[in-house]
Amino acid sequence: MNERERDTSNRRDATTCSFEAQGFPATYAFGALDGGELAEFRQHLEGCQICTAALRDFRSTVAQLPLTVEADAAIGPSPALRTRLLDAVAADLAAERAEARAVAPLPFRARRRVPQAYAIAAVLLLALGLGLIGWNLDLQRGVTQARVERDQAAAERDSALREAGRARLERDQALRELTTTRWQLSAAQAGQSIKGDVIYLRDQQKAVVTIEGLPELQPGQVYQIWLIQDGGAPQPETVFLSTTTAVQANFEQFQTLAVTVEPGPRGSVAPTSPVLVVGNLTH
């Protein structure tokens, strides 16, 4: 569908927009719009109130998604991170203050209150002061020049990053089809309606596991994923509470994925309950 076809329902008095109906604002809100459609939608967005309003709504909802992350006090940043951050902030502040001192003009009151008894000395000081002002102006010019050079360097760096990004995208698109595997999951016991799938992103050694129909957890319980090598003991992996989770592991080393219910919040080192879901990780 071309721009004109998409825009046929996007007149000033229209209440619907084909871009919105096709999911452009939602996809853009995720930062997932790509290719030619990205530029096309940005251009469209400038004149479409329907998509502008939809985008605002979708962004409000996307902004809540961080709250779906599991809270686990055992997985938090190290205390050293706080120290590193505050050290960096202190260094930033010191640099800002040094720069401010270097460019600050002399206070007005200090220039006005000159004792008459020291007129001759004042003349000498004035000469010295003029020299200092000249030095100060030079310094300001230096600071300004340094800022210009810094901004130019940042712009050049950003441009280089964009170029590199485009090159990586082209390469990645060529590799993408070779780097994703999908497996089905099914109930381990007959009569249960549990099913799911695993989408494994080989380049990241990361899998998205989605399961439907799991039995409801009792307080203090979690679901736990296990990865199993042929003839080996189950290796404990991610615990989760909802129906979708991510697993960071090299799945090519394993032949089976299983899910059990374990004591929370951190799960078990070996399964303590029957397997609910199982999947054959054929390679």
Binding site: Q22, A63, P66, P77, G165, R182
Partner: protein, 194 residues
Amino acid sequence: MSNGADDITAESDEALLAAIKDRDERAIAVLYDRYNGISFGLAYRIVGERSAAEDVVQDAFLSVWRRAVSFEVGRGSVRTWLLSIVHHRAIDRLRGVSGRARQDVAIDDFERVLSVDDPWGTVETNVQRDLLQTSMATLPREQRATIQMAYFDGYTQQEIARAMNVPVGTVKGRLRIGLQKLRSLLAGAGVEYE
């Protein structure tokens, strides 16, 4: 700051940001103490590695410190702004590690536009999390997985389409319907936007 010079821990996020604009180091420390857990959890969920997640969190808080003047009170909450920076930095890192390019969106624009309304106000975070997780769980599996890949894995529509073996239009449709349902469920639970 209304609580005097010695205690700013009870100040609102907006007051802390105002203090950061005035270059009060204590304010960024309080903001960090308040949000390091959820920031790290988000970064860890995306990058999947502890030291990388810590780098992302440090980078995000430093960005808040350096760019607090660009935050406009009234355009959104400090928390959503901070978490949008964490999310963006983490996805950038993920794509850098995997050799994937991030979407061609200027970072200033990205972080500015994500300063959206936070309808939750001061409601307890755990209550919010439970409600969000419950709402997510009610979405069909395909919509959940698509949202997961777009938000937490930073995949573009074309990458998701290839991974799930569906047309790009289907990906866009799933993201749209998924977000609409999520928004409707949250509204039904009493969360009011704007």
